[in-house]
């Protein structure tokens, strides 16, 4: 029996016992279903297509105005429906009831319900100009090409000086969701490590375990078993999110091209962030002997994690802001912030390297510090053990 075989047995127990606990399975199923539902529900609520704008016509009608309104609608990127009213009363009632958004009366008056719209006014003005000018020019005997030359003498071209990524919003949104999933997962599975540690102390089973294996094996087995469960949950949640995005019918967005790198990033940073925080959770968990005392003890990791989460939200808004940039380089926050900045495509290669190396070194340091506190505090029951006392006790 090698030490690593024992570690494997310990981690298997953590994985199986925690993985089949009912509260865990229920919560996981609820979250997964909720995530899958988000896509189709959003799709249904937004109705898929934007609503058309209804223009009412009443009184004397300019010939060809309906076609021209539609043509101008295409240019203004507004879908136009046209309805005709027999009388001004009926048209006003339609405005009142919202059956029409705007009414063109006698070809020269634009009537809104209460708020006026500059875009719609301009659209109608241009439509009226076009049909009236056209009939005037026709009356003067101009040919069709001459009329066209007068109507549209110069076609301006449109350009931007910076190229924008049409999928940028989708990328940031997905990275933001990834950051939330990371945050929830690290807090959840870190807490499992702390709770599991206290349970073993509270139930006194720790002495039975430690008569067979060393404390580092218990710790590594616990972190690994719960971490594997975390990876499984991540796979399920991210899979659900991916499915949800595909069900949402995002036709103009390449879900695979955006989603898969983010999913890979979340997995990568979960491993680093989880290892970093799991050993911290284990260390603080080992200093108390009862679940009731745990709430206070796990404030330390939570106080460290929450700013990381806030910075990740800030990074989703403004990935190149000063605070997100700094946060993405620091070991304790990089796991939350860096995946968002990487997904937004703004993180320089050296920044990613600093974040990865820093977090790895930080995680190794916490494995060492956490293990030592854990070893020193594990067999001390009763009152809360001071971290410094546990540190010293481990040397004895």
């Amino acid at each position: 029996m090698t030490p690593w075989t024992q570690v494997w047995l310990l981690s298997k127990r953590e994985f199986v016992e925690r993985g089949r606990s009912k509260p865990f399975l229920v919560i996981m199923a609820i979250i997964a279903v909720a995530i899958i539902a988000v896509g189709p529900v959003t799709n249904a609520l937004s109705g898929g297509e934007p609503e058309a704008t209804t223009v009412g016509l009443v009184g004397t009608e300019l010939p060809g105005i309906e076609d021209e309104l539609r043509t101008q609608g295409d240019l203004f990127e507004i879908e136009i429906d046209v309805v005709r009213f027999a009388a001004t009363d009926a048209a006003e009632n339609a405005l009142e009831d919202g059956d029409a958004d705007v009414v063109l009366a006698d070809g020269n008056r634009v009537v809104f319900h209460d708020d006026t719209s500059v875009r719609l006014t301009a659209l109608i003005q241009r439509s009226v100009d076009t049909v009236v000018t056209e009939s005037t020019l026709e009356g003067l005997g101009l040919s069709e090409s001459e009329i066209e030359a007068v109507q549209n003498p110069v076609q301006v071209s449109v350009a931007t000086i910076e190229e924008t990524d049409p999928q940028e919003d989708a990328k940031r949104g997905a990275a933001f969701v990834g950051a939330i999933v990371l945050y929830i997962s690290i807090i959840m599975f870190g807490s499992f490590v702390a709770t599991g540690t206290v349970e073993e102390k509270q139930n006194r089973v720790v002495e039975v375990v430690l008569s067979r294996v060393r404390s580092w094996q218990v710790l590594v087995g616990k972190v690994a078993g719960i971490g594997l469960l975390g990876l499984l949950q991540l796979a399920i949640l991210l899979g659900a999110g991916y499915t949800s995005a595909q069900l949402a019918g995002l036709t103009d967005i390449d879900v695979a091209a955006i989603g898969l790198p983010i999913i890979a990033g979340v997995f990568f940073w979960f491993i680093l962030g989880y290892v970093f925080y799991a050993f911290l959770y284990a260390a603080v968990g080992s200093t108390v002997s009862r679940q009731e005392d745990l709430q206070g003890a796990i404030m330390l990791p939570i106080v460290l994690i929450v700013p990381g989460y806030l910075l990740a939200i800030a990074a989703a808004e403004n990935p190149d802001g000063l605070l997100p940039r700094i946060g993405s380089l620091l070991p304790m926050w990089a796991p939350f912030v860096m995946p968002v900045r990487t997904a937004a495509g703004v993180a320089a290669l050296w920044e990613i390297a600093v974040a990865v190396i820093g977090s790895t070194v930080g995680a190794i340091a916490l494995v060492w510090i956490g293990s030592r506190v854990y070893r020193g505090a594990l067999l001390r029951t009763g009152t809360k053990v001071k971290v410094t006392d546990a540190w010293r006790a481990a040397a004895e």
Partner: protein
Amino acid sequence: MLTITDVHKRFGDVVALNGAGFSVERGRILGFLGPNGAGKTTMMRVIFDLVHPDGGEVTWNGSPVDAEARLGFGYMPEERGLYPKMKVGSQLVHFARLSGLSHSDARRAVDHWLGVLGIDDRADAKLEELSHGNQQRAQLAAALAPSPELLVLDEPFAGLDPIGVDSLSETLRELSSDGVTIVFSSHQLDLVEDVCQEVAIINEGRVVLDGNLAQIKAQSTRRRLTTDVDGRPWIPDLPDIEVVSNHGQVHCVVSEDAPVADILAAAEAAGRVTRFAFEPPHLTDLFREAVQS
């Protein structure tokens, strides 16, 4: 053979072990005795390196005990504890596997011991669903399932009913005749006297008396003297006498060369002698003497 030599352990200002040691031959049962706080539990934890001693040595068959050797030891700590929400059978298999058994061997050993201890019908129940006594049995099974060569039990009889005490005593005797070395602590000295061939008494971190119980008794210069006159305890007038009153039973501990004939004559002069016993000291007498001196 388990040999513990000159073990020292200090927790801050408290000296828990101060040069303690004893040894037990293979297949023998040693009762490990001492007042509360004498260092019994610390000593047992030292065997499993749960407490790392400041000095001293623990050897098994002549070699220092390491992690590998420890896997051949079974331990039942004073603070009982198993996983409350895990099924009894599967957690015992887990512990047996941690001690190095293959899955099938672990399964077989657990089934065997659950059967011997009479809780094989509860293998699929969660530990927390078991009665207190059955949880105690499961705890013992966890120590026994890996078929240890050395069994260390901290207060194994605490909390057992008389039938449980009898069956545990019987189990320990059988294990010992199979060659298992057993060390257990207890405050029930009559039980220790009944079950153990060897004793070690620890007081204030030092082993003050240890060895074969029969030999210790034989070598003792003290004798237990019990005299009742007219049905009531009667105390002779002797210089070197210790009177022990225990739950209404009164006896004296005197020197081996006490004038037995004179004492009996004096007792007869006082009334009708209904009881007169002059015998080797019991373990309680030895214990009291060792701890008080």
